[in-house]
């Protein structure tokens, strides 16, 4: 049995509490608040204590899906990514870069957001990037 505990940061509200995710053989089994965090100082709220629960839910999306004949069907990464890139190239050529828009996210990491807005601005050539900060 391989037990591990890994320091992480809460994906819920803006407090930014940190905790250790406990895993046994690659399965998430629990959450322990970090006692040394200056934010939460060893405490967590009801959502925080259960923050490991949704990660390995059977309802997670696990495969790329592409709409074919009106239905979303499982496809390979290659097929899905080629489809997106081709379609974006075509729309940019036909309608210009500002016909493409991006919603970045308050839920993904800084690195994820940086790469996304860089793709929008440097590759597509549009500043149409926003996220739901106001919502």
């Amino acid at each position: 049995m391989d037990y591990k505990s890994t320091l992480s940061v809460c994906p819920y509200c803006g407090c930014g509490c940190s905790f250790y995710l406990e895993t046994i053989d690659g399965k998430l089994v629990g959450t322990k608040p970090s006692a040394t965090s200056p934010v939460n100082q060893g405490k967590l709220c009801v959502k925080g204590w259960k923050v490991h629960e949704f990660v390995q839910s059977p309802r997670r999306l696990t495969n790329p899906l592409l709409r074919k004949n009106g239905e979303l069907v499982e496809v390979s990464w290659d097929e899905a990514l080629d489809y997106v890139a081709d379609k974006l190239r075509r729309i940019k050529a036909d309608h210009g870069p500002d016909s493409i828009a991006f919603l970045a996210s308050a839920k993904i990491t800084n690195e994820d957001n940086y790469v996304l807005q860089k793709f929008a601005r440097a590759a597509v050539g549009t500043n149409n990037v926003d996220h739901c900060a106001r919502l």
């Binding site: 890994t6 320091l7 992480s8 940061v9 994906p11 509200c13 803006g14 407090c15 995710l21 399965k27 998430l28 934010v39 009801v46 959502k47 259960k50 629960e53 949704f54 390995q56 997670r60 999306l61 696990t62 495969n63 790329p64 899906l65 979303l72 990514l81 489809y83 997106v84 974006l88 190239r89 729309i91 500002d98 016909s99 493409i100 828009a101 991006f102 919603l103 970045a104 996210s105 308050a106 839920k107 993904i108 990491t109 800084n110 940086y114 790469v115 996304l116 807005q117 793709f119 601005r121 440097a122 597509v124 549009t126 149409n128 990037v129 926003d130 739901c132 900060a133 106001r134 919502l135």
Partner: protein, 539 residues
């Protein structure tokens, strides 16, 4: 954020969470802290224990109101009037910090002239808060050695949201309650990385680090760093993207980690726009209403399955570490974007998030001293301009504002976009419940949390319940000019007679079918916090 940036030159929380415990007076307005930011609430309770005066202003009698030294229930949408009324008393009694105003601010005289009109009598009429309570707030806040303001979406989600924030900034400058330990104007960010998404340029008018896209020198700097030609024109905000989809000027929408079908106001309007896309790509961890409309759905890895950083509400950049392998074939969002970019014809070659952060540091002044090694442990609070800089606990030290002088804004109160009338006689407001989070994609997939609160509800006052002949748990029908939902009645004096509260986590009783998409003219935030509603017992 636009409001604070206009007043101070930076839109972020001015002080750190830790410092709240050391404040002498804390004025909490439009923040249901206990439910939405529990570990900030923990500091407020601790401050109270240390002898601080806690003042809560909220139309709903939230949990924090029960322990506050003073709780006032202002009328929905009357915040700017309340704040101006408090400023009126401070100036009339000579409690302002004239030295601070003279040394560090501009625009004071106009502001002073404007608040003349907010006499206690008029303020009471507009807000429903008594003159005695107004004096208490004014005196306790102005005279406190360290006074702090805490606010959240109750202030911002209005057509006058930016004005409300500017009004709070006025109050802090008027009393010099900023730029010192345990003071400041402190917006609590609703989502874990909303600060980071803004910092990283997830906004239509700025590159990373709030550097304007329409300033030629800045644009040249990024064009060089990224080896690409860049657009000099600010992009579209979300509501404009939706109108663009409707009028055909926008063809493709890439949505990463968001569910606009649930989170945006007037769901029917959003659905109509999304159905017009030539390409709708949704990248997320769970299926949701927006994904169901997509042409392509890409499975992202969750926070527990990747390395990276989040920036919390107090500007603290913290490391998350990969604890488990991504489920199925899911991938980190940066990897997905990189692969699309490579196929699109703009090569990217990051081997890890740490490498991405190294690039962020080279183009983002506030993050210039950040690297993954330095973030191990407690993380760092930006601005952190150099590799030996310890980070910054509070902004605008000594009244030296990021924009130079702090700017007073003379702002009159404006009524909400929709007010009650004969047909829609009740006020509707929306918000969060303690167990759930935002559109519920994560918490409603968490078995323990789902068990604690499996379904939506509508809070109504006992007076309303009696009028309708409804008892606890019976179904109510709520109707606004946008749509109709049904929800179980929760009968409670948390809401006043004439008011209804609906949490927005539940798709089957979706608050945003009802809400008003009227926007603040500057930052385009929708007026989620107030609209007019009709209430019936469900047939």
């Amino acid at each position: 954020m636009a409001g604070l940036a206009a007043a101070f030159g930076s839109g972020a929380m001015t002080n750190s969470i830790e410092e709240l415990a050391g404040a002498d007076t804390i004025f909490v307005i439009g923040s249901n802290t206990t439910a939405a930011h529990p570990l900030v609430a923990d500091r407020l309770y601790r401050a109270k224990k240390n002898g601080a005066t806690i003042i809560v202003a909220d139309p709903r009698k939230i949990q924090l109101a029960l322990t506050a030294d003073l709780y006032v229930s202002q009328a929905l949408g009357s915040d700017a009037a309340l704040i101006n009324g408090i400023a009126h008393i401070i100036i009339k009694e000579g409690w302002q910090n004239q030295q601070f105003i003279d040394d560090n601010t501009e625009g004071y005289e106009e502001f002073k002239a404007m608040v003349q009109g907010y006499t206690p009598e008029r303020t009471t009429e507009l807000t429903g808060v008594s003159a005695e309570d107004l004096y208490f707030i004014a005196e306790k806040y102005a005279k406190a050695p360290a006074g702090s303001i805490v606010y959240c979406m109750g202030i911002t989600q209005h057509t006058s949201g930016v004005d409300n924030v500017k009004s709070l900034a006025n109050l802090a400058m008027l009393t010099g309650q900023i730029g010192r330990e345990s003071t400041g104007v402190n917006p609590l960010r609703g989502q874990n990385n909303v600060q980071g998404a803004c910092d990283m340029g997830g906004l239509p008018d700025v590159y990373p680090g709030y550097q304007k896209v329409d300033v030629p020198e800045i644009q040249a700097k990024f064009a060089k760093a990224w080896g690409a030609e860049l657009s000099p024109k600010a992009g579209l905000k979300i509501p404009d993207m939706l109108s663009g989809l409707n009028d055909g000027s926008v063809k493709a929408l890439i949505v990463v980690g968001e569910n606009p079908m649930m989170s945006d106001p007037d769901q029917h309007h959003v659905e109509q726009a999304l159905k017009k896309t030539e390409l709708l790509v949704v990248q997320d961890i769970f299926d949701h209403q927006t994904a169901q409309l997509a042409h392509v759905v890409l499975p992202g890895a969750s926070y527990a399955e990747k390395d990276g950083t989040f920036s919390n509400t107090e500007r603290r950049i913290q490391r998350l570490h990969k604890a488990v392998e991504p489920v199925g074939d899911s991938k980190a969002d940066w990897e997905i974007t990189q692969e699309i970019s490579n196929r699109f014809g703009y090569p990217m070659n990051y081997a890890s998030p740490s490498e991405i952060m190294d690039e962020i540091a080279t183009v983002t002044p506030q993050y210039a001293g950040i690297s993954f090694e330095r973030l191990e442990g407690e993380g760092l609070l930006w601005p952190c301009p150099t590799q030996d800089h310890p980070g910054t606990k509070f902004l605008h030290a000594g009244g030296k504002f990021a924009r130079g002088k702090g700017l007073f804004h003379a702002i009159e109160w404006r009524a909400p976009a929709e007010v009650v009338d004969e047909e829609y006689p009740l006020w509707l407001t929306t918000g969060r419940a303690h167990v759930h989070y935002h559109t519920g994609t994560m918490t409603r997939n968490s078995p323990s949390l789902h068990a604690l609160m499996p379904e939506g509800f509508a809070e109504i006052n006992p007076v309303e319940a009696e009028r309708l002949g409804v008892s606890e748990g019976e179904m109510l029908q709520l109707t606004t000019r946008r749509g109709t939902i049904q929800a179980k009645a929760m009968i409670t004096d948390r809401v006043r007679p004439g008011m209804v509260f609906v949490p927005f986590h539940f798709m089957e009783a979706c608050a945003n079918v009802l809400t008003n998409p009227a926007l603040d003219p500057v930052c385009k935030i929708p007026e989620f916090k107030v609209c007019a509603v009709k209430l019936d017992k469900a047939a």
